[in-house]
């Protein structure tokens, strides 16, 4: 039977734009500034750069290679690279990213709501809303929103419906068209707002926090752990999203160069967003202590409460506020589109047509996102469980390449590029399991240390027990379904149905 024509990005720039917009998410705007300021500013940036070279870029290269060679989503790519016995690893990666997708649409919905509110003047307090109040305007707004299920579920639905429509239209007609506009608009806004922040009197204090290195911090292991965690989460390495976008890449794409662009662009946008957030914060906050308090307030507190309050006091707040939340919404929705496409592509590999698959993913994403829309505690739990789970997905990706043959992979990557970095790639991929053990061990240690009495309890939001239980359920499920997954995914160019023990052949490629 003739295979239908494989969809493709229209060119090299298209896949780069899609991949960068996948990596740049809300975390660049609300996590990066806080972590960079807390862990040594410039010293943290140096640590992040090293983490990109050891963890993020090699993993993105692994993902790009797996997607572009197998021409299958994560489940099929793991089957063809790691052997049929290990197809479950692709299933685990998909489950982890879906776990994130189910609450990420809610977060994207918050950003859309705040943009809509800012654009209609709803984030500009008048005298009647502030006089005599014991809580700030930002707190009142946030509490009114987050305790209103009609609004939280409604904006979650808006994010899902919009994304379903985009993915429904396909790679060229949907994702490419939308992501191009989103990325350019977001970059323009962030650059403009960062430039404006840098020019504010008093912004230098915030910028010093961000850029001037505190060299002594590099001697602290915590800085390195935070830097590697930032590189792992923010660049999309180990999420499986690059793997899926690479399925639609044209032949002879620059694997190493494209991966480098994604990782370095992600940190560059993080730096600009941090200049915007920290510059504004320190220029507008009444005291440096107040600015520090805002940074300590977590993602939600900083973004939806403190920034709302501080921007409202600035000249030009009527335009700065909607632009800031528009950039946040564009970053959030473009990353959500990538996760949605991951689910859709994997379903398509099981024989679903794109439109049916997108509709199905949309319905499931809406229903399974409702608990996070109704309970921020549940959302925080899911963020914790699947955020740390991403490290496991990263490890599995490296193991797939080690099984495939790391020298063979390095040779294929070098053959695709004008830059020869195969030797470094091979070394970094071999180092990833060690880095994983350190990072993973640290997160478990933190969880036990912070919850000495309840770390084992699966009902506690940030416990080790809740991670173990949820990962355990998913692992048991994908292991039980291994044969179904291996047989159900269609064949790709690497699939050898006549040699089902694909794992057996892989070692022979190692040279």
């Amino acid at each position: 039977m003739a295979q239908p024509q494989q969809e493709q990005w229209s060119g090299r720039l298209a896949i780069i734009i899609a991949a960068v917009s996948m990596a740049v998410g809300t975390g660049n705007i609300w996590r990066f500034p806080r972590v960079a300021a807390e862990w040594g500013g410039g010293a943290f940036l140096i640590a992040v750069t090293i983490a990109l070279l050891i963890w993020a870029i090699p993993l993105l290269m692994c993902e790009f290679l797996m997607g572009s060679r197998s021409r299958l989503g994560n489940i099929g790519a793991f089957r063809d690279f790691m052997g049929r016995k290990n197809t479950w690893a692709g299933g685990f990666m998909v489950a982890v990213t879906l776990g994130i997708m189910f609450y990420y649409s809610v977060v994207a919905g918050w950003c859309i709501r705040y943009f809509a509110l800012a654009a209609t003047g709803g984030l500009l307090p008048d005298a009647s809303t502030t006089t005599g109040a014991t809580t700030t305007f930002g707190e009142v707004q946030w509490d009114a929103f987050i305790t209103n299920p009609v609004e939280t579920v409604g904006y979650h639905a808006a994010a899902v419906i919009f994304t379903t429509f985009v993915v429904f239209q396909g790679i060229k007609g949907g994702l490419e068209r939308v992501l191009k506009v989103f990325l350019v608009a977001m970059l323009v806004i962030i650059v403009l707002l960062a430039a404006r922040a840098v020019m504010l009197p008093g912004s230098a204090a915030g910028l010093s926090f961000l850029f001037v290195p505190e060299w002594s911090q590099l001697a602290h292991s915590r800085v390195w752990l935070e830097a590697f965690t930032q590189a792992a989460w923010s660049t999309g390495a180990g999420w499986g999203l690059m793997m899926v976008y690479a399925v639609y890449a044209r032949k002879n794409e620059e694997i190493s160069v494209n991966s480098g662009i994604v990782a370095f662009s992600d940190v560059l946008v993080g730096m600009l967003a941090a200049a915007l957030v920290l510059g504004t914060l320190f220029a507008v906050a009444p005291t440096p202590q107040f600015a520090q308090q805002a940074l300590d307030a977590g993602h939600v507190g900083l973004t939806f409460i403190y920034i709302v309050d501080l921007i409202a006091t600035m000249p030009g707040a009527w335009i700065i506020s909607p632009l800031f939340f528009l950039a946040l919404a564009l970053a959030g929705v473009s990353s959500f589109i990538a996760m949605f496409e991951l689910a859709t592509t994997n379903l398509m590999n099981f024989g679903f047509a794109r439109r049916k698959a997108a509709l199905l993913v949309g319905i499931v994403a809406f229903v399974l996102g409702i608990p996070s829309a109704l309970s921020i505690e549940f959302l925080n739990n899911q963020d914790w469980v699947w955020g740390v789970g991403l490290l496991i997905s990263g490890l599995l990706t490296a193991l797939a390449i080690l099984k495939y043959g790391v020298n063979r992979a390095a040779a294929e990557i070098d053959a695709s590029s004008d830059i020869r970095i195969g030797a470094w790639f091979a070394l970094a991929v071999r180092a990833i399991p060690v880095v994983f053990l350190v990072l993973f061990g640290w997160w478990i240690y933190q969880s036990v240390r912070d919850n000495p009495e309840t770390w084992w309890n699966p009902l506690v939001t940030y416990s080790t027990g809740t991670m173990a239980l949820q990962w355990g359920i998913v692992l048991a499920l994908v292991l039980a379904l291994n044969r179904f997954l291996a047989d159900g995914v269609k064949d790709g160019p690497m699939t050898r149905p006549d040699a089902p023990a694909a794992a057996g052949r892989s070692d022979s490629h190692e040279r």
């Binding site: 010093s208 032949k251 002879n252 620059e254 494209n258 662009i261």
Partner: protein, 35 residues
Amino acid sequence: MNGELVFWICFFVGGYSLTVGALLRIALKKGSGED
């Protein structure tokens, strides 16, 4: 804004921008890719 701060801003933002620019140049010079 003092000289040290300006130096480090140029170092990090400039360094990253140049790296991304150079990589983009390499990625795009092959044209629009092959089918």
